[in-house]
Amino acid sequence: MNLVMLELRKHRLLVGGMLLVALLWAAWMARLVLAGESLATLAIHIGFLFALTPVGLLVPIVLARTLSGEATGPLAFLLTSPRRGLAHVSARFGAAFATLALYYGVLVAVSAWVAASAGIRYDAWLPLATWGYFLASWVAPVVILGIVYGLVVAAYRPGRGGQAVAVAAVFGVFKVWGWLGGQTLGRLDFLPKLPLPEVVVPREVAPFLGMTPSDLDLRQALQPLFDGVPTAPVFVGLLLSVLLFWVAVRLWEEVEWA
């Protein structure tokens, strides 16, 4: 727990900033919706989602930068501490993942509320499923990849191409990830699928989503093309996270010998 608190204190500016942005955003959207501007709010919200979603990438980047300087910084004693690598990596991963889960949780909740108030009808489980799907298939692997990047840099002699080595390794991981994703998406039909969600977009909202103004039933429209939402990306993301986590734990325990 001390390690988690240390992480949060170290990155209090980033964590606090992200949560502040998310909450201010929620407050502004709530103010607009309560003022009766539902359609305009939806348009603003969709536009800004494109800017707010990639902000989460800051977390793995900051994690990687911190870790890559750790071995030569004031917290180098952490790397040689008797605590196991598992505890250190878990603490960092946990703090980062919790921050991102909270941040994206706020975004998803605000999106769901804004969409509902604009008249879009959807299944009650849809926001929660979207959140979980995104966290498992994207956020977890990218966060742990940031940790691995930083540890790889720290495991090499400083100033001698450590960054190039880590960049090449991360590119390789992305290639493997993409290859696994492509292989599994078409072939793992036996995995359970999520049902197509019930989403009904009323006529007046459709133009805001770049569609012709007509009532649109998403499930009806997609049914001839798909029989469900594949969960293969979730399994691939979890598998990749576990493998990278294991690599990170071993790296942590070996960094001190570099």
């Binding site: 691995v148 540890l151 790889v152 495991a155 090499y156 002699r157 001698r160 191409g161 450590g162 190039a164 080595v165 880590a166 960049v167 090449a168 390794a169 991360v170 590119f171 390789g172 991981v173 290639k175 493997v176 290859w179 569609m211 012709t212 007509s214 649109l216 429209a221 997609l222 001839p224 093309l225 690599v247 071993r250 790296l251 070996e254 960094v255 010998w257 570099a258």
Partner: protein, 166 residues
């Protein structure tokens, strides 16, 4: 000189980076995990880069510069649409497919004699000027045959020897 040359230079630089990282990765650390992980992943990246270069080279050889630049890879259909929602246009297995849950203002011409299977749930679709009933229609079309879609829902047009209504 081949048009592929600048692309080859690009891939060669990437490949050089990957191999340099592999060398550094094996020699500059004492951590076994770091060495094995970095070398494996850098070689994976190098392999994919080499494969990409090979595919790009074959693409240029097979189709030529004009087709690659224009993005027109000998499609059996020529044309487009005004608006559509949830649409796909491109190869799907052994057939070329135009599929959309809702298609407005579609205008396609067969560029070669080909089998087709045309299915739609509702709307106004014309094949060579004949208005079609909703449902599925299959047959052979000559080059130059026009498919006009004023508006249609649940639209799917397959072109190719494997196109079937089933």
């Amino acid at each position: 000189m081949s048009v592929f040359f600048p692309i080859a230079v690009f891939y060669a630089v990437l490949l050089g980076l990957a191999l340099w990282a592999t060398w550094l990765g094996w020699t500059r650390s004492k951590s076994l995990t770091a060495r094995v992980f970095v070398v494996t992943m850098a070689l994976v990246w190098a392999g994919f880069t080499a494969a990409d270069a090979w595919h790009a080279y074959r693409l240029f050889q097979d189709t030529g510069l004009a087709e690659v630049v224009s993005g027109d890879f000998g499609r059996p259909l020529y044309g487009g649409y005004d608006t559509c929602s949830f649409c796909y246009e491109g190869p799907a297995g052994r057939v070329f497919v135009v599929a959309a849950s809702e298609l407005v203002g579609g205008n396609y011409m067969f560029t070669e004699d080909a089998r087709y299977a045309l299915r739609f749930k509702s709307g106004d679709v014309r094949l060579d000027g004949r208005r079609l009933e909703p449902g599925c229609h299959e047959g052979k079309a000559e080059a130059g045959t026009l498919v006009l879609v004023n508006e249609a829902k649940g639209f799917r047009l397959e072109v190719g020897e494997a196109a079937r209504c089933d």
